[in-house]
């Protein structure tokens, strides 16, 4: 029995995920009843551009005539992933340029999937703000017509192709993401020097380092309950994704299974890191902050994290001498940890479209970009702005430039369920209450069940 109309069919036909979308959206859009909302919004966008063709680049946008800005007024509501005090410089910069706009700033913490819940509640009640942050995958929101197509906005056009396509649905960009976090394995330089260790070139080098350190009575790895999964994703990155970057989208379609993509990584993880004691049971009762402290205080030699960790390490221990290396595979292939950041989407029926577009274009301007970069501390996708990244991260700069980074679970359509499941499963592997075989079997069964029930 079907209720309302048949948009579900449109959802099923569209495998629009990472790297699947291409082209600059607007012209390749297929007309279908399901797309009515977007079509309208889109044509509205184009009209606006004809009226104001002078917003070609961010720089020019900054010099736009005051008359044009005068048109932008009213209240602009934003649901933010970042807290107000962090966003403040950007908000201030925007209101300085558009003094007639009043901001209705909203924020929900991303802890415990609260952001996702709130977004669902707002969407279901038709209460979405003009602009809101969005985590991938965007398929469900886009296919149900909640997101405006924003391919035509200048700030979006300025983004590199991969950034656009990652947040595309049916060939049109539906969320704006200008930055990516890229991380790797932080290591304690002093400890490495003391034991004549060098940065690993292959995964086996890494295991040897762990052994040397462990034999010398040093805890090789600091990990916590939630992020210990990164050691499994490491091998998935270098052994599976480096061959086939689209692997995880194929899990969504049923073409590939968790067994094919993760069993080997999980087995190596268990045998070479857990059974050897490099990762102990204490990990499953440790929080992120605590393992960061362990690394910073020199109680462990290595830990996997991203750019946000650097300032924390320095604050906890100003004397720490540390650096970072990327994920390396068994053959020396490099594919480190990283993903595009959360993106900003526009409501398909915005209350204040002009201001919403102005906000995105302000972010895309030079001033906006550098403010945004200093808020997130991430690598930017655009090269029009120069910014400082902590020199500690220099060894992974190349990965950022070459796009050699991936984070597997962000692309799963049923990420919310499956990512929780695999994380808990890895905890159970450490506790010895489940095996890699059982875990991949459970994941595959759950995935099939979710896909069939869609």
């Amino acid at each position: 029995m079907k209720i309302r109309n048949s948009r579900l069919a449109a959802l099923l036909m569209v495998p629009a995920l990472l790297l699947a979308g291409c082209g600059n959206g607007a012209s390749t859009q297929e007309a279908s009843p399901a797309q009515d909302d977007q079509q309208e919004t889109e044509s509205g966008t184009e009209e606006k551009q004809e009226e104001a063709p002078d917003t070609e680049t961010g720089e020019e946008a900054g010099e736009e005539s005051t008359a044009a800005k005068g048109d932008v007024s009213g209240t602009l509501s934003i649901l933010s992933w970042y807290a107000e005090d962090k966003m403040q410089p950007i908000l201030d910069g925007f209101t300085a340029q558009y003094p007639d706009v009043t901001l209705d700033f909203q924020h929900v913490s991303s802890e415990n999937s609260q952001y996702a819940q709130k977004l669902t509640l707002l969407a279901n009640a038709g209460e979405l703000p003009d602009l809101f942050y969005l985590q991938p995958p965007i398929t469900l929101m886009a296919s149900n017509g909640y997101l405006a197509e924003i391919s035509g906005i200048d700030a979006v056009k300025a983004l590199p192709e991969t950034y656009q396509s990652s947040y595309s649905y049916e060939g049109g960009v539906h969320a704006y993401c200008p930055d990516a976090w890229i991380g790797g394995v932080f290591y304690n330089k002093t400890m490495f020097e003391d034991h004549n260790l060098e940065v690993p070139k292959t995964y086996d080098d890494f295991l040897n380092i762990c052994k040397t350190l462990s034999d010398a009575g040093i805890k090789p790895l600091a990990a916590d309950a939630n992020s210990v999964i990164d050691y499994v994703y490491w091998l998935h990155n270098t052994e599976v994704l480096s061959e086939d970057i689209g692997f995880n989208s194929k899990i969504d379609t049923g073409e590939k299974t968790f067994e094919e993509g993760y069993l080997e990584a999980l087995t190596i993880f268990k045998e070479d890191l857990v059974d050897t004691g490099y990762i102990g049971q204490d990990v499953v009762g440790t929080t992120d902050d605590q393992r960061m402290t362990e690394f910073a205080m020199g109680d462990a030699a290595m830990t996997i994290s991203g750019p946000w960790a650097v300032s924390g390490f320095k604050e906890k221990n100003p004397d720490l001498d540390f650096s970072i290396f990327p994920y390396v595979g068994t053959e020396g292939q490099v594919l480190t940890v990283g993903a595009l950041n959360v993106a900003i989407a526009m409501n398909a029926q915005p209350q204040n479209q002009a201001a919403a577009e102005a906000f995105l274009n302000y972010l895309g301007s030079e001033e906006g970009m550098s403010a945004y970069q200093s808020m997130t501390g991430n690598f930017l996708g655009v090269d029009t702005v120069s910014y400082e990244i902590d020199p500690v991260l220099d060894p992974i700069r190349e990965c950022a430039a070459n796009g050699q980074f991936a984070y597997p679970d962000v692309t799963w359509e049923f990420q919310a369920t499956l990512s929780d499941m695999i994380k808990k499963g890895v905890q159970e592997i450490i506790l010895g209450t489940t095996t890699p075989q059982e875990l991949v079997k459970a994941l595959d069964e759950k995935e099939t069940e979710l896909r069939n029930n869609k």
């Binding site: 909203q106 279901n124 992120d288 960790a309 604050e315």
Partner: protein
């Protein structure tokens, strides 16, 4: 007799020791707020070597204290007042008309409400609140907190049942209406149990987090606990900021407790569920 006195001293000493252990987490929280992060890690229970208020400065920067404090105060004061009034009235009917079949049914109907966690009903509830135009509004939040009247009427009901009906009968003979009897005669007698109810509900409303984060969106309407919670997410890696934020959020409740300390027990004394 002397032996008995010694025993009392021993008992007191043992109890004070237990209290000390019981208090360690709180002590730890408070003492950490005056230390640098490095010191928290190195000497967790020691008194601060270099006393610093920097953490509080950072904490005040991270949360907009005055605005959110004002919101919390507004929501708590109005909600608790409404809960008291609505519960007392409802309980009066539930107690005095308890023989009527419809009242019996409604009593049972209300009891069920006690059992339902918000997590299970939030999607429909949000749609309803939107229909009433009460989302993202402090009035909406107050309305939601008024659901506390279910527990309130339960507490009052037992107390009212135990009150003798003579006074009410006398007043009725003198020609007073039910409404007048309730407000002039019954309600003042409810004072002890009212204190108890106020204490419970101030605690619950002030510390509420689920209603607030689900139904309030705009930062300028956020409550103090919400601000602290957002701080937790943001400063999860920096407990030197986190802990003073927690202390700031606790402080109003501690002051509230100290003011009402005697009434808390006293209120419970009289009120305590005279069924």
């Amino acid at each position: 007799m002397k032996r008995r006195k010694t025993l009392l001293h021993v008992q007191e000493a043992v109890m004070l020791l237990i209290c000390a252990v019981f208090f360690i987490p709180i002590y730890y929280l408070i003492v950490s707020t005056f230390k640098t992060q490095n010191e928290i890690v190195k000497a967790p229970l020691a008194l601060p070597a270099h006393f610093t208020l920097m953490n509080y400065a950072k904490a005040f920067q991270a949360i907009s204290f005055f605005r959110s404090f004002g919101n919390s105060l507004f929501v708590t004061a109005i909600s608790v007042t409404l809960i008291v009034v609505i519960s007392a009235m409802a309980a009066y009917t539930l107690a005095r008309k308890r023989e009527a079949r419809v009242v019996k049914f409604l009593d049972w109907y209300l009891f069920l409400g006690f059992l339902i966690p918000l997590q299970t009903t939030m999607i429909p509830l949000f749609s309803i609140m939107k229909g009433l135009k009460l989302t993202n509004s402090l009035l909406g939040l107050i309305f939601l907190h008024c659901n506390g009247c279910v527990f309130g009427s339960f507490l009052y009901k037992g107390f009212i049942k135990a009150l003798p009906e003579d006074l009410e009968e006398a007043a009725r003979i003198d020609g007073a209406g039910t409404t007048r009897i309730f407000w002039k005669i019954v309600f003042p007698l409810l004072k002890p149990i009212t204190t108890t109810l106020v204490i419970f509900n101030v605690m619950w409303t002030w510390n509420d987090f689920l209603y607030t984060y689900l139904f309030i969106s705009s930062s300028d309407k956020s409550t103090l606990i919400m601000q602290v919670y957002n701080g937790v997410g943001q400063y999860y890696n920096d407990w030197s900021v986190m802990m003073p934020v927690l202390v700031i959020a606790l402080l109003p409740m501690v002051i509230f407790y100290l003011i009402l300390q005697n009434q808390i027990i006293g209120g419970l004394t009289m009120g305590s569920m005279k069924n």
